[in-house]
């Protein structure tokens, strides 16, 4: 029974990891670009939520709206004015610029919020759960996270395959040199893609704040989980990313069930095994 419980909790945890990963997957899909500061942006969203709701005492719904809007604007501006300038054949500049951003964000957060770990208390949400039998109970918050992940990925899929913006994004993904010839503006399209990714990052950060303790250096671990979910699921396949998140989550909870010290290690090992057995991930749609 404890194993079934571990499995269920792992699936739900996978929802959070899929939320972490969706933005990364989207940015890679459109721009072949990996943001090393991705996890740090998630942590920034978590701190913003904490500031709005706890320090300023705003209504949580207004807090969520503010975080989402701010991250969206920041994502657009960052891509349009900084990251677009280093995109290109040479992979080094984007890696180094986002790595530099990661260091800057971590230290700026440290300066503003101190190294103390924080958590957004959610009152009844923290403790309420739906019970199934003796040892299996599903927390309301993890369930919300999972539903949010499915909804976010479903929405992204809808935008990608059912709207004219999505057509433009897919066209840019297929051939960035032809799109400008047809009247598209790559700089703007890339910025829109990062904005969409940042909206998901905002949601992921808000759930991170509610789910676990976090501190200014929590970003890199989130980046690694996101990255692992993307690779396990297969490049360019956003539903695969959800599955990758679930596999990672289940590996972690089963590892934790064996020994608390093995939680993160078990997740990394699951990732490495997939990498060895199927280097392109389980359901790849494009080539790296």
């Amino acid at each position: 029974m404890v194993w079934i419980n571990a499995l269920v909790q792992g699936v739900l945890l996978g929802g959070l990891y899929a939320l972490f990963a969706a933005g990364l997957s989207l940015m890679f899909g459109v721009m072949r670009f990996v943001n090393i500061a991705h996890g740090d942006f998630i942590v920034v969203a978590a701190y913003l939520m904490l500031t709005f709701v706890v320090t300023w005492g705003l209504n949580p719904i207004i807090g969520v709206a503010l975080v989402v809007i701010l991250l969206g604007i920041a994502g657009y501006a960052n891509q349009r004015f900084v990251l677009n300038r280093v995109l290109g054949k040479d992979i080094l500049p984007p890696i180094l610029v986002t790595f530099g951003m990661s260091i800057i964000i971590q230290n700026a957060l440290l300066e503003v919020f101190s190294a103390d770990s924080q958590k957004l208390q959610t009152g009844w949400l923290d403790t309420s759960s739906i019970s199934f039998g003796h040892n299996v109970a599903i927390g309301v918050l993890p369930l919300m996270m999972f539903i949010a992940a499915v909804a976010a990925i479903g929405l992204l899929q809808l935008v990608f395959y059912r709207t004219s913006l999505g057509r433009l994004l897919r066209a840019t993904s297929d051939d960035p040199e032809i799109v400008p010839l047809m009247g598209g503006n790559n700089a703007h399209i890339f910025a829109i893609a990062t904005m969409l990714a940042s909206l998901v990052v905002a949601v992921a950060g808000i759930f991170l704040a509610m789910k676990t303790n976090f501190d200014p250096t929590a970003g890199p671990a989130r980046l690694l989980f996101a990255f692992e979910a993307v690779i396990i699921g297969g490049l360019g396949n956003i539903w695969g990313t959800l599955l990758g998140g679930i596999i990672l989550g289940v590996a972690q909870t089963i590892g934790a069930q064996i020994d608390a010290g093995y939680q993160i290690l078990a997740g990394h090992l699951a990732f490495l095994i997939v990498l060895i057995v199927r280097p392109t991930g389980l359901f790849p749609k494009m080539k790296g």
Partner: protein, 338 residues
């Protein structure tokens, strides 16, 4: 046509003179550093040893990222492995401490073979993050190794530290020369490698991987070889770093900030893809650190900003910009048609 070749010859002559002057300067500084235990105080020696360690790490990362295009953000894996293997060998195997350092380096290189086999399944930016995951795996394993103190780490037993030399001054001197040798070897080794047949292949890969492949360079093999070699030398440096610290913990040994972020900043600011760049970068890094020692987190924010600035303004870094402008090279590795 005659005028053009005339000015070109004069330009080359002028740069040949500055080149000789710079080489002389480098030699004078190297000789002065070789005698540092005679003129420098204890604190200065410590600072120099730290700078030497970072120079070696920077040369290795530059070799990897600057020449073979393997951008790793997981080099802390090999610093940590070198440190931990050194502690394990020195404490449990009974090998003399000074022999345990190269032994740990070789063991690190051996571990890098399967590690590289896995990491090479990823390309570009994904390779970068993949190496980071692998470093985390080693950190988590080290935290589980109870014989080596688990998560809280382990100290080098006093008698082992004392086995290096009887007196404190003697130990300082031995340690200094190990660090000095590692730094000199990293520069001379990279220089020698780049001037060899392999170096030509590596420079070709740096300039264009497809073109290198088309003229018969086995790029995958060359990259793998460099990956393993740099891992071994990074491990060597790591084992020295933790011999100097006398204590190792998983957090310190596998720190991404210390052993990768700082190293990347050094190389990028100094000039990636050149031997001189990391040297210049180390000087700038340590000079800024002395000035900004009390700034705490602001110092790191500044370093990150400078690195981003370099990438946005001129990604060749300071030395790269100087080199293309004045045609300089202290350690010439280029091939020119006369």
């Amino acid at each position: 046509m005659a005028t053009i070749s005339h000015t070109a010859a004069r330009g080359q002559k002028a740069s040949a003179l500055t080149q000789k002057l710079m080489l002389a300067l480098v030699l004078i500084v190297t000789v002065a550093l070789a005698f540092a235990p005679m003129w420098a105080g204890r604190a200065d020696l410590r600072l120099l040893m730290e700078a030497f360690s970072f120079l070696a790490l920077a040369q290795m990362w530059n070799m990897l990222a600057g020449y073979t295009g393997l951008v790793s953000v997981g080099q802390q894996a090999f610093v940590g492995l070198g440190g931990y293997l050194f502690f394990a060998l020195a404490i449990f195997s009974g090998i003399p401490v000074l022999l345990a350092i190269p032994a740990a380096a070789i063991a690190t290189a051996l571990i890098a073979i399967p590690t590289g086999w896995v990491a090479f399944r990823l390309q570009g930016a994904y390779f970068a993050i993949g190496t980071w995951v692998i470093a985390e795996v080693f950190r988590l394993i080290a935290a589980q190794a109870s014989a080596l103190g688990g998560g809280s780490g382990i100290s080098l037993p006093v008698e082992l530290a004392k086995s290096i030399a009887a007196t404190r001054d003697g130990r300082d001197q031995v340690m200094y020369y190990i660090a000095f040798a590692i730094a000199v070897l990293s520069v001379v080794g990279v220089w020698g490698l780049l001037r060899s047949r392999w170096g030509l292949a590596l420079t070709a890969i740096r300039d264009s991987e497809n073109a290198a492949e088309s003229v018969g360079v086995n790029t995958r093999r060359a990259k793998f070889l460099i990956y393993v070699l740099t891992a071994g030398f990074t491990g060597l440096t790591g084992s020295f770093i933790f011999l100097q610290k006398l204590r190792i913990t998983p957090e310190a040994a596998f720190s991404v900030n210390e052993w990768t972020a700082f190293v990347i900043f050094i190389v990028v600011i100094g000039g990636i893809g050149t031997i001189e760049g990391p040297i210049l970068g180390v000087i700038i890094f340590f000079a800024l650190r002395q000035i900004a020692a009390d700034w705490g987190t602001w110092y790191l924010i500044m370093m990150g900003s400078i690195a981003i600035g370099v990438m946005l303004i001129d990604k060749r870094g300071i030395w790269g910009a100087l080199k293309s402008r004045y045609n300089l090279a202290i350690f010439p590795v280029g091939h020119r048609l006369d």
